[in-house]
Amino acid sequence: MAKRTNLQVKYPYLEPEKREETAVEIDEVIPIIDAEEKPTIVFREPPRYNKAINNTILIRSRLDAKYKTTGSVSGRPYVFNGAGSIVDVDKRDVDEFLSRRRRKGCCGGSSPNSLFELV
């Protein structure tokens, strides 16, 4: 609405006859910037880990570290507080969680090195 008002001030409404008299050639359209318009400040909301949701499955971490991650499907943030900690995970993310593996394990390890397991 502010821009519309500015346009009306610069180019007031004229009757059709008067338009021809006052007509001028416009080479290019210059955008009108409202001097009062200020850039918007966007406040990014901090992620809310382990937010209570429906349709969840309990997943246990096997990683001996605090593990902050995001569900690849739901985009929900999760945090596991060390090995053995259990978190409600969105059903859509469960398959991907269970398929996460230690990628470069070495030296005689016989376990599949999966990072998470179903409770």
Binding site: D64, A65, K66, T69, A83, C106, C107, S111
Partner: protein, 209 residues
């Protein structure tokens, strides 16, 4: 052939020779051994759980197991030494580690803080004070005959990484030296005195009588 062999019952050693280091595994001491105890009342083995995972050390070398013993002579002014009394104080697993990662495993050996992993991209860990209230069981099996599965293993009940470590950052590869697991007596799990430091198990179907 005259060999000077003594008379009577003679037990000779097996003609079996080992080479190479065992794997070294460790687990938080709060967990119980896998055999707790076994049918012969020996305590040994590890079983990883989600809360108490078993850690496997990666590339190790210069591995040795030694002990600390106090030796006191019974020395008489009249006739000299009549005997010696010994006390086993602790055992020490000494090794050099060439594997640095992951840090959340290395932190147990270097006495670092609890780690945080963010988004599978970052691993953060602090160097602060040393937590003196963490102990580990250490398990070192060595399969010395791959065909028959003969093995020898050492299980130490209550260990702690001790001494100062050094990270050598040479062009021939980084190495962490000065790593030691010192094994103490464990009198908290009903372990018999004869096994209070640890247990040695050998499995060899073809050689054992």
């Amino acid at each position: 052939m005259i060999t000077g062999t003594p008379q009577g019952t003679i037990e000779s050693q097996d003609d079996i020779y080992l080479e190479g280091a065992p794997y070294i595994y460790f687990q938080d001491w709060s967990a119980n051994p896998l055999n707790n105890p076994d049918s012969d009342n020996y305590y040994w083995g590890l079983s990883g759980t989600a809360a108490y995972p078993v850690y496997n050390l990666g590339c190790i070398n210069d591995v040795s197991l030694t002990e600390d013993v106090t030796v006191n002579n019974i020395r008489c002014d009249t006739v000299g030494d009549k005997d010696v009394v010994q006390r086993r104080n602790s055992l020490e697993f000494v090794f050099t580690l060439q594997t640095m990662f992951p840090l959340f495993e290395l932190r147990h050996l270097l006495g670092l803080s609890a780690p945080t992993i963010v988004g599978g991209d970052l691993e953060k860990i602090g160097i602060g004070g040393i937590n003196n209230n963490r102990w580990y069981m250490v398990y070192a099996p060595k399969v010395y005959d791959d065909d028959t599965g003969d093995y020898l293993l050492f299980h130490l009940h209550k260990c702690k990484p001790v001494d100062a470590w050094t990270i050598g950052m040479g062009v021939d590869g980084w190495k962490i030296t000065g790593l030691k697991f010192r094994a103490f007596t464990d009198d908290s799990k009903s372990i018999p005195d004869a096994q209070k430091f640890g247990t040695i198990i050998r499995a060899d179907v073809s050689a054992l009588p």
